[in-house]
C-alpha cells in the first residue's frame, strides 16, 4: 500500500508544542509511507487540495492525517479523500491536538508521542479495506419528546413542512413552564396570549398526534427507523368522550388536593383541568387524592359527567409508534430552595419562589391576579427579590448561571409596581446578567423608571419578626449591612435539569453532563445534534435557556429533521460486523450477545448453520467480535488485526 501522511500545524495549536516537521520526516520511515508533509491548516480548502494533489501525484492508496480529534474532522477528510478517488475508509486520523499538543508542554515528549500516534494510525491503515454503504429507507415521521415551547415550535415547523409528528408530553397539558408564566420579558407580552395559539395549533394540526399524560417507555432502532413504545398513563377519564366542561371539577369533594399547576398555592380537586386554556382540555383524576380510587365511597364525578367519561378501572396502556427522527425537548425543573436553611428552608409561607410569584401575578392564578401574601392574604408593601438562589453557587452543586433569573426578577419587579403603585421592591443581586436584545435596557427601566432598588450583595439570613420577614444582607457597593423588613420575599430559584432526564437519556442513548443537561454534538458547530444520529435537542434540556433561545433551538432542530427527511433514503454505516463463514463454528454466542438482534442463523446447502449479520440492523458496537471464540465475526474498520496492529507498534 502507498500511504501519505499529512501532519497539521493547526496554526500554533499543534505546532506550538509539537515539532510537526520532525513528525512528518519520521513518518517517512514507517512501513508503506511514501509521502509525508506538514501543513499549516490541513482542514482548510488549500489543505484538502494538497491532500488530493498528493493522492494523484504519488499514487497514494491510503491517507493518514495527524491533526485534531476524529470526532471533529474525520468526516471532512473522508470526503476530501473520496473526492480524489479513494474509498473514504482508506483514511485514518491521528489525534495529536486534543490528545497531545493541548495537554502537555514538553515539546520533545509531545513530538515523540505524536510520532507514535502516527505510527499506530499507519499500522492500522495497512489493514484497512474499502467499505461501501448501502441505502436504507427513511421513515419520515418525527417524535417530539416534551410539549413545552421548544417542542411545540419544533413540532409545528415540521408539521408545516408536511411531516407527520408524534408529540409525547408527561404532564396532562402542553405548554410546559411557559404556560405557568404571567408575562414574558423584555416585552411584557402576555405569556398565554403568545403561547396559547401555538398550543391550539398543535391540537388542530391533522398531522400532529399528541400523547399527553404519556411517557417514553422504550426506544429501539436507529436513524430513519426508530420504534418507540409510549406509556399512556391511566387518567381515569376517557379522553375520547371528555368535552372539558369542568362539571366534575366543581362537584369533586376531594378539595385538599395540592394545586401543582399553581405551585401549591391554594388547592385543586382530585379531578382537574389545570387551567382554562389547557391543551388538551381534558380532565385527569389524581389517583393519590381521589376518594373512590382510595377505597372510599364516592364516584361523584362519574355520576355528574354528562358524557359518562369517567373510568375508575382504567390502566396504563402502551402504544407503539414508528418514527425516523427524535427531538428531545424535555425542558427543565426549578431548584429546590429548601437546602438553604438561612432562607428558611421552605418553612415560611411568605418566602416564595419566582414561579409561585408568577402564578400570583397571573389573572388565572390562585388569587385572580391580585398580589397578596400566601400566609394571610394581605397586600404586601415591601417586596424583596433574591437573585441566584441555586445559581452560581458551588456549595449547593449549581456553579452555573441560570441565565433567566436576572431578567425575570426585573420583569416581576416592574409588574409589582404596575399592580401595587405604592409598593417598594428591592432586589439583592450578585451581578446583573442581561445580554439579550433589549435586555439591559429592560433592567435599567426597572431601576430608573419603576424605582426598583437594586442592592449588590448576598442575603445572609431571612427570619420572621411579627408578621413580616426580615431580610439581612450586605450592600457590597456601599460596604454596609442592610436590613429590609419585607412583607413578601421572592427567591429567584435557578434552572436545573428535568427530573428523569437521565433515564430518558439512557433510552435515547445520548449523553448528559454532570448536571443532567443533554450533551450536544459540538458546543459551537453542532448545537442541536447529539452523538446519536437522528436524535436532536431543543430548549432547556440542553442547558439553561430563555424563551427566545428555546424557540430558536426548536426551529433549528426542526430544520435538521427536515434536511434529514428531504431524502428518501439514507446511507448506512458500513462499519458493521461481518461473518467469515469458513471460520464460523455455529456456536450462536454472537446471536445471544448482540444488543440489537442484528445476527441471525443462516442455512447453507446441506443444512449447515452459520451466523449472519443484518447490516442495516447492526450498529457496530463489536460485542459479537469480542465474544466470537474463533474470531469469525469481525467488526469492519475495527477488526482484531487493525486494533492489534496499533498495539503492536507500541510493543516494539
Amino acid at each position: 500500500m502507498r500511504i501519505g501522511v499529512f501532519v497539521c500545524n493547526c496554526g500554533t495549536n499543534i505546532a506550538g508544542t509539537v515539532d510537526t516537521a520532525k513528525v512528518a520526516s519520521e513518518a517517512l520511515t514507517f512501513a508503506d509511507v511514501v509521502y509525508a508533509t506538514n501543513y499549516m491548516y490541513t482542514c482548510s480548502e488549500p489543505g484538502q487540495q494538497e491532500i488530493q494533489r498528493a493522492i494523484g501525484e504519488h499514487g497514494l492508496q491510503g491517507v493518514v492525517v495527524a491533526a485534531c480529534s476524529p470526532r471533529m474532522h474525520e468526516p471532512t477528510f473522508r470526503r476530501a479523500v473520496e473526492k480524489a478517488g479513494l474509498n473514504k475508509y482508506m483514511f485514518e486520523m491521528a489525534n495529536i491536538r486534543e490528545h497531545v499538543s493541548w495537554i502537555g508542554n514538553d515539546k520533545a515528549a509531545n513530538t515523540a508521542k505524536a510520532a507514535d500516534l502516527v505510527r499506530m494510525a499507519v499500522a492500522k491503515l495497512r489493514f484497512n479495506q474499502p467499505l461501501f454503504s448501502s441505502k436504507m429507507p427513511v421513515n419520515k415521521r418525527l417524535l417530539v419528546i416534551g410539549g413545552g415551547v421548544a417542542g411545540i415550535q419544533a413540532a409545528l415547523d415540521c408539521a408545516d413542512g408536511g411531516m407527520d409528528v408524534v408529540m409525547v408530553e408527561r404532564k396532562q397539558y402542553i405548554g410546559g413552564k411557559m404556560a405557568q408564566l404571567d408575562k414574558t420579558f423584555p416585552t411584557i407580552d402576555c405569556s398565554s396570549c403568545i403561547l396559547g395559539p401555538k398550543m391550539v395549533d398543535v391540537s388542530q394540526k391533522e398531522n400532529i398526534t399528541l400523547y399527553a399524560s404519556s411517557e417514553i417507555e422504550s426506544i429501539s432502532g436507529y436513524i430513519g427507523n426508530f420504534t418507540v413504545d409510549i406509556r399512556k398513563k391511566a387518567t381515569y377519564v376517557n379522553w375520547d368522550a371528555c368535552t372539558g366542561c369542568g362539571a366534575c371539577m366543581e362537584k369533586c369533594p376531594a378539595k385538599n388536593t395540592p394545586d401543582v399547576f399553581n405551585e401549591n398555592l391554594g388547592s385543586a380537586r382530585a379531578i382537574n383541568i389545570p387551567f382554562p386554556q389547557a391543551i388538551p382540555k381534558k380532565a385527569v383524576i389524581d389517583a393519590r387524592h381521589c376518594r373512590q380510587l382510595n377505597g372510599k365511597k364516592c364516584g361523584v364525578c362519574a355520576k355528574i359527567c354528562p358524557v359518562k367519561a369517567i373510568d375508575f378501572e382504567m390502566k396504563d396502556t402502551i402504544v407503539t409508534e414508528k418514527v425516523g427522527a427524535i427531538i428531545a425537548a424535555t425542558g427543565y425543573d426549578l431548584f429546590d430552595h429548601s437546602v438553604y436553611g438561612e432562607y428558611g428552608a421552605g418553612r415560611y409561607p411568605d418566602v416564595i419562589t419566582g414561579i409561585q410569584y408568577e402564578r400570583i401575578l397571573s389573572a388565572s392564578g390562585p388569587y385572580g391576579g391580585h398580589i397578596q401574601r400566601p400566609s394571610d392574604g394581605k397586600e404586601p408593601k415591601n417586596i424583596v427579590f433574591l437573585a441566584c438562589v441555586g445559581s452560581r453557587d458551588a456549595s449547593v452543586g449549581r456553579p452555573y448561571c441560570s441565565g433567566v433569573c436576572c431578567m425575570y426578577i426585573a420583569k416581576q419587579a416592574i409588574l409589582t409596581k404596575d399592580h401595587l403603585p405604592e409598593s417598594n421592591s428591592y432586589v439583592f443581586y450578585m451581578d446583573i446578567r442581561a445580554p439579550g436584545k433589549n435586555y439591559d435596557e429592560f433592567v435599567r427601566r426597572a431601576q430608573e423608571e419603576y424605582g426598583v432598588q437594586y442592592i449588590r450583595g448576598r442575603v445572609a439570613k431571612i427570619y420572621p419578626r411579627g408578621d413580616r420577614m426580615v431580610v439581612q444582607g450586605a450592600d457590597t457597593l456601599l460596604g454596609v449591612q442592610v436590613e429590609v423588613e419585607a412583607d413578601l420575599v421572592v427567591l429567584a430559584t435557578g434552572i436545573e435539569s428535568s427530573a428523569g432526564a437521565g433515564e430518558l437519556a439512557e433510552k435515547l442513548r445520548i449523553s448528559y453532563d454532570q448536571y443532567g443537561f443533554y450533551m450536544e454534538s459540538h458546543p459551537k458547530l453542532r448545537p442541536v445534534e447529539t452523538n446519536t444520529a437522528g436524535v436532536y435537542l431543543a430548549g432547556a434540556c440542553q442547558g439553561p435557556k430563555d424563551i427566545p433561545s428555546s424557540v430558536a433551538q426548536g426551529s433549528a432542530a426542526a430544520s435538521k429533521v427536515q434536511s434529514l427527511f428531504a431524502h428518501d433514503t439514507i446511507e448506512t454505516n458500513p462499519q458493521v460486523a461481518l461473518v467469515n463463514e469458513r471460520n464460523c463454528i455455529a456456536c450462536g454466542k454472537c446471536i445471544q450477545v448482540c444488543p440489537f438482534g442484528a445476527i441471525q442463523w443462516k442455512e447453507l446447502r446441506g443444512g449447515i448453520k452459520k451466523a449472519e449479520v443484518l447490516p442495516t440492523v447492526c450498529q457496530g458496537c463489536g460485542v459479537c467480535n469480542a465474544t466470537c471464540p474463533p474470531k469469525a465475526v469481525q467488526l469492519q474498520h475495527a477488526t482484531d488485526n487493525q486494533l492489534l496492529a496499533e498495539v503492536n507498534e507500541l510493543c516494539a
Binding site: 486534543e98 507514535d116 467480535n625 492489534l644
Partner: protein
Amino acid sequence: MKDLSPRSSAPADETAATTQGIKIVGFLCNWCSYGGADTAGVCRFKQPTDLRVVRIPCTGRMDPLFIAKSLIYGVDGVLVSGCHPRDCHYAVGNFYARRRMEALKAFLPFMGIDTQRFRYTWVSASEGQQWQKVVTEFSEQIHRLGPNPGLKQRSGDHSIPSIALR
C-alpha cells in the same frame, strides 16, 4: 505467542532503567471516554504524555486478549475506559466489558503480570477533569512500577513476534 510461563521480579538492570520510555495504551470508547479525553484537551487540562490512545467503538469491543497481549509484549500499562454503566451508546456493551475485564483481572497474575498494570474506568464525554485525574493517577502508578519486563526478560529472545491474527 510462545512462552507464557509466569515471571517473578524483573532483573535489577531493568528496574533501574529510566522511566522515560514508559508507554501506556488506552482503549477508549468512541462515545464517552474518547470524548472525555477530547474535552480534557479542549479545556487544556495538562496530563502526563505516556498514554497512547486506541479508539474503539465500545468497551464491549474489548477482547481481554488485547489487554493480555499488550502486557505480555511489553506495553507498560493498559487503561480501558468507557461510558458509565447504563449510559452505554449501545445500551449494554460496557456491562459485557466489565464482566470480561473482571475475569481477566483474576487471570493476570497467572500470566505473570502485575494487576496494577491494568485499570478500567468509566468517564463520560463531559468529564474532562475526571479524565485528567484518571490519566494522571494511572500514569503515576505505572511510573512507580517502572518498565514492564514483558517478553524482553526472556534471555536470548528479544524479538517481538507479530501478534496479528493472519
